[in-house]
């Protein structure tokens, strides 16, 4: 892919993201007239226009935070998926398949039971996610089997165990308060999101994304395998550790506010690879943008399609799973 084509692709994706965000802000139960929304934004910017006060509140305290959240979370989950796939040289893994999402969920649920706020939830989710990825990668090492399939199986074992652990936690949680919070959080909805929560995950998003974009070329080298990376002069353990920690931080931050949203982290990186190729220098920015666009659209559909809101994971699965099958079919010559 030529440099100019790539620049154009990025520009196009930014335009799409802007369009998706605007659509997301305009669509909702109160009014679907984009003019009303535009007026609300104008008035906030200090331009005197006729504006419905209710509309202003809806746009600024409900829709914009929600669209922002969907964009950030889509970007975080896709990016962490792309990075796990690169570092583990395995196009079959994702935050869900490695058990990281489940680990982060157990951590976050624990924090909720201890009565912690969003900061504590994030910290606990990070610890849970890191613990899950460490165990998931330790099992193939113990069995001395480094095949792609073994890592996937190991992730399923860890994920399965941790999901059951989460079920136990729900079972013992106090019904009136803790359980309700856990259940609502875990369903993966953006409906209660506020700006405070978005600010809380901001640092994790910023840190993880900046570091991973900075290290994107190193991920290429790690994806050749340990021997090649080492003979190219890389401190494999250090880089792999930093990169996995960043990816887990992103997953944990996403899980801590929106619960488990499946499929995004698996499908979007494949789509990005299909568009710009496997080179992580190009593929990682595209993954971030695609993930943001995808999630923004999914969330808009989730609240616009029916009068009752559809849980996100249902939509990401219904759309993501067939997409994944299609993508695998298209790129079968490029992965092994």
């Amino acid at each position: 892919m030529k440099k100019s084509t790539y620049a154009l692709t990025i520009l196009l994706l930014f335009a799409l993201l802007f369009g998706a965000a605007l659509t997301g802000i305009c669509i909702g139960r109160l009014s679907t007239n984009p003019m009303d929304v535009l007026n609300a934004i104008k008035s906030k910017l200090g331009i005197p226009v006729d504006v419905d006060e209710a509309m202003e509140i809806v746009v600024f305290s409900i829709r914009i935070p929600r669209v922002l959240a969907s964009i950030i979370i889509g970007a975080m989950l896709s990016l962490s998926g792309a990075v796990y796939q690169g570092v583990f040289r395995n196009p079959l893994v994702s935050p869900d398949i490695l058990g990281v999402s489940s680990g982060a969920s157990v951590g976050a649920a624990g924090a909720i039971m201890l009565g912690m706020g969003i900061a504590g939830r994030q910290a606990f989710a990070f610890i849970g996610g890191i613990a899950a990825v460490i165990i998931a990668t330790a099992i193939p090492k113990l069995l001395k089997n480094h095949s792609n399939l073994m890592l996937v199986l190991s992730g399923i074992i860890v994920g399965g165990f941790l999901s059951s652990l989460l079920a136990v936690m729900k079972f013992v949680a106090e019904e009136q308060t803790e359980l309700t919070t856990i259940v609502f959080w875990q369903m993966g909805s953006f409906s209660n999101i506020n700006l405070k929560e978005i600010f809380a995950i901001g640092p994790a998003f910023f840190l993880g994304t900046v570091l991973l974009i900075g290290l994107s070329w190193r991920i290429n080298i790690l994806s050749f395998g340990e021997i090649e990376a080492k003979t190219l002069g890389m401190d494999v353990k250090k880089f792999r550790g930093i990169i996995i920690a960043c990816a887990s931080l992103l997953t944990a931050a996403a899980v801590s506010i929106s619960g488990t949203v499946g499929w995004v982290g698996l499908v979007i990186p494949h789509l990005a690879r299909l568009i710009v190729g496997s080179d992580h220098i190009k593929m990682i920015p595209v993954t971030v943008l695609l993930g943001a666009i995808f999630m923004c659209i999914i969330d808009t559909i989730a609240r616009a399609l029916m009068t009752v809101e559809i849980p996100l994971s249902i939509l990401t699965g219904i759309i993501g799973a067939p997409c994944y099958a299609l993508l695998l079919y298209w790129q079968k010559a490029n992965i092994s």
Partner: protein, 258 residues
């Protein structure tokens, strides 16, 4: 002398030693062919020199410094490693693959620049495979992959290039092509240490032979001095003959019959 392997031992587990008291020098522009039957530790020896594993005893000196005291980056600037053919999980363009040879000289958060791509391009040119620069690594033939791997090693601008069975899995024509390339890069001043299962390759390459036999004995010396009918027959535990063919003016190793 560029590097020196000094009395190294290696064992994967206690009491079961693979390499025993191995010493030899690596000189500039020299080709060293490691010969020996399956399982004697040819690759293990190569991995020790690549610092992928650490000898259990003895040491390896590189330009007067102990290898195990150097950082991976410092070693990678002097020693390049061409592993056996691998099929990567992701497909990169050949040029993107070759440019990773510049990794030891590129900062942690940096990405390769035009300067580095130029190095990669000239390495591809040296291998005569410029035409596949923008093809995907998974879409090229085994021979082309091997040449691309050697191009990457050249882009690393090392002193020594280690190759683990560079002719394995290649058809006869490509095997000879790779041997020619090895000879050429040695003439350009790189030292090459390779492992092979074909003693004839050692004869074709000339240079020196490092042979490991079943009983853990190690022989090092000039190829023509070391390789003889008796030596090869003993090394591979097979009846092998060595003939001088005057038409081509070289010794050839052949099997009389099976």
């Amino acid at each position: 002398m560029l590097a020196e392997i000094k009395n190294i031992n290696f064992s994967y587990e206690e009491g079961h030693s693979i390499l025993h008291d191995i010493s030899f020098p690596i000189d500039k522009g020299q080709i060293i062919t490691i010969l020996g039957p399956n399982g004697v530790g040819k690759t293990t020896l190569l991995n020790c020199i690549a610092n992928l594993i650490t000898p259990t005893a003895g040491e390896i000196m590189l330009e007067g410094r102990a290898l195990n005291k150097m950082s991976p980056k410092e070693i990678a600037m002097k020693i390049a490693f061409v592993p056996q053919l691998i099929v990567p999980s992701f497909s990169y363009e050949v040029l993107s693959y070759v440019v990773t040879g510049c990794a030891p000289r590129i900062g942690t958060f940096e990405k390769p620049k035009k300067f580095h791509y130029d190095i990669a391009r000239s390495a591809l040119e040296q291998m005569g495979i410029t035409h596949i620069s923008h093809k995907y690594y998974t879409h090229i033939s085994g021979g082309e992959r091997q040449l691309a791997s050697i191009a990457r090693a050249l882009a690393q601008r090392p002193r020594i290039i280690l190759m683990d069975e560079p002719t394995a899995h290649l058809d006869y024509g490509n095997q000879i092509k790779v041997l020619k390339v090895i000879k050429n890069i040695a003439e350009d001043g790189f030292s090459a240490v390779i492992t092979t299962h074909n003693p004839d390759h050692a004869l074709l390459l000339g240079g020196k032979v490092a042979a490991l036999n079943q009983n853990g004995q190690f022989v090092f010396g000039k190829t023509e001095g070391v390789i003889s009918k008796e030596f090869l027959s003993m090394l591979y535990d097979t009846d092998l003959h060595l003939y001088h063919i005057s038409d081509i003016n070289r010794d050839v190793c052949i099997v009389p019959t099976i």
